[in-house]
Subunit: 347 residues, 2 copies
DNA sequence: TTGTACGCGTTATCAG
DNA sequence: CTGATAACGCGTACAA
């Protein structure tokens, strides 16, 4: 493998000059530049990233932290990753998905051995110890999501508040006044996951504000959990005519089971999936309305923010909220006011 | 950040000695070792991975190549990644998921800039240009999957042949003699994806051998594709009593639509999902039988093989085939011989 | 058992 | 505009 010295010798210049043309960090006369470029081509020169990193004290690598205990890397996370990768590549960085066990040691090692310039955190918890560790390690980072008090941190997050509000808007325009919000029970118990908390708070606030009936219920984040929940819903909230679901994995089972119980979507019940994808929505029958999670955009913005911080071109803190588009699907209909609720829906 | 020099000074030894205790690459007397360790602790010394890599000419980083065009990173891939990560960590390596655009330049850069020691390839195509590129670049790599002629390469792959055979065994023991294999149409057109080809060949061979009826059909790899396929099946293979599905994303829609058409699973049709997960199987109703893809194990073995190659502790080529466990689910039943096939199933 | 000194391939500084 | 040359932080013969 050819080094800069080889190229320099071949072109009859010094290594410094070669470096200048490689990075064009300094002006170089057209003549020598040509000679250097020729030499590089002839020798098939590839710059050594490790040496480069050692000398410049930056690797231009960004780690997207992936908690290894979390066994499901959703579609959403994949999109997020590719969005981030694209943006990084445009900015001269590369982002890699880095598996980090949940012990505190691994994160310290990762951030202190100099192999990465910065970190992007996803699946941020309300009280996330990783944030403190990164602050202590003085590693530049940005959040995808928010912890309890992110006011002093760079973050990009989904505008769950807006998404909930907009979903309710849409349903209200169809005459619905009696809502249920379905969340995932396991996640909440875990510690306090931002989206879950924020969605619930917004949901309750909006309902109160507008004089709507709003009830929050939960079930396990599995298809079976959703199935079981179908009858729970009929028992606990028979009058509801619309449901917002923040529980991807339960949604399909839930809707399928509803059908068996004689409840028709959307005739008897309108359904909106929050923060999911059209792919998931298409798994259900009928295809569900969904407020999409703007995954790729989040990834892109996360990287742009972090790179801005790394390159020093970012002065103030960045706090961005993004909303995903609304996909209508086949699960919305005018509220069945005349029918008297779910209990008699199929009668 | 403390360097080795700092530690050496503090402990009153030379940097070489510090290096010896850090890597224990040479015997060190208990006394000085203790002094060095104390100094390291006091100064909170962390070795610089970049300098280490430059000097030793190895980074101990393995890249798991992730094709960015592929927007769905399945559950399976996630498991695979975590399995690989675990194994790597035990062996003193770290594996990261590296996004690689599909242009040939990116892969060359990745492998020639010295940032990674080796590569693991997943989603290997029958004719995969990446293999040639890696060979040309002399980058150590192992395949998860197989290209057309992998005889000279290290690989770990799913034993699709065994899985198909075992599935047919099970169904045959229930009296089934008339099978359909459902594959994904898009993937095959793409180029020739190993699993698809191998499963089909095995399916046809086993059926021929045992005098069974076996028909291969395809549909799009989407829920909608599966739905459409339900009626296709009734038209094209009304006599079939069992179906093997190598099409994750279509399975749920397919089964759901079958129900609407009055075909009952498993009474009228037995269903086995091939190379998927219980999570996907649970999305369907009833829960499907599934020959699981041993994802985590594949990841683990892939890393073990590659590391063995990197460390030179692996003499011969490694060719490993793994089978996943069989999950019974609720989609298997005795063949409805008396009923005369799907066409009249619900009559 | 420990120390010296050089090399790894670039970048960056400073002089010309 | 170009060239020497000193870092960058660590591994490792070789010498002591």
């Amino acid at each position: 493998m050819a080094t800069m010295r080889d190229v320099a010798r071949r072109a009859g210049v010094s290594v410094a000059t070669v470096s200048f043309v490689v990075n064009d960090s300094k002006p170089v006369s057209p003549g020598t530049r040509l000679r250097v470029e020729a030499a590089m081509a002839e020798l098939d020169f590839r710059r050594n990233a490790v040496a480069r990193a050692l000398a410049s004290r930056r690797t231009r690598i960004i780690a997207l932290l992936f908690p290894v205990l979390q066994h499901r890397l959703s579609d959403t996370a994949a999109r997020f990753f590719t969005g981030a990768a694209e943006a990084a590549s445009e900015l001269g960085y590369t982002v890699v998905l880095w598996p980090v066990p949940n012990d505190s040691e691994s994160l310290r090692e990762l951030t202190s051995d100099g192999l990465i310039d910065g970190v992007i955190l996803m699946e941020v918890q309300l009280d996330d110890h990783r944030v403190d560790q990164l602050l202590a390690a003085k590693t530049p980072f940005t959040l995808i999501g928010r912890n309890r008090d992110p006011s002093a941190l760079d973050y990009v997050d989904v505008d769950f508040e807006g998404m909930v509000e907009q979903s309710i808007d849409r349903l209200q325009s169809l005459g619905h006044r009696d809502f249920v919000l379905l969340e995932e029970s396991d996640r909440l118990e875990l510690e306090g996951y931002g989206p879950v908390v924020r969605v619930e708070e917004t949901f309750q606030a909006v309902c109160a504000e507008r004089g709507l009936r709003g009830r929050t219920l939960r079930c396990a984040g599995t298809p079976a959990g959703g199935r079981t929940f179908a009858s729970t819903l009929l028992a606990e909230a028979p009058h509801a005519t619309a449901i917002l679901i923040l529980n991807d994995h339960a949604a399909v089972g839930f809707v399928s089971e509803l059908g068996k119980l004689g409840v028709s979507v959307p005739r008897d019940l309108s359904v909106v999936l929050i923060g999911s994808t059209v792919e998931v929505s298409a798994m259900a029958d009928p295809e569900l309305a969904v407020m999409r999670l703007p995954a790729a955009e989040l990834g892109r913005m996360g990287v742009e923010t972090l790179v801005g911080r790394l390159d020093g071109t970012l002065g103030d803190l960045r706090h961005d909220l993004l909303m995903g588009g609304f996909h209508e699907g086949e699960s919305l209909a005018v509220a069945p006011v005349a029918r008297g609720g779910l209990g008699r829906a199929s009668a």
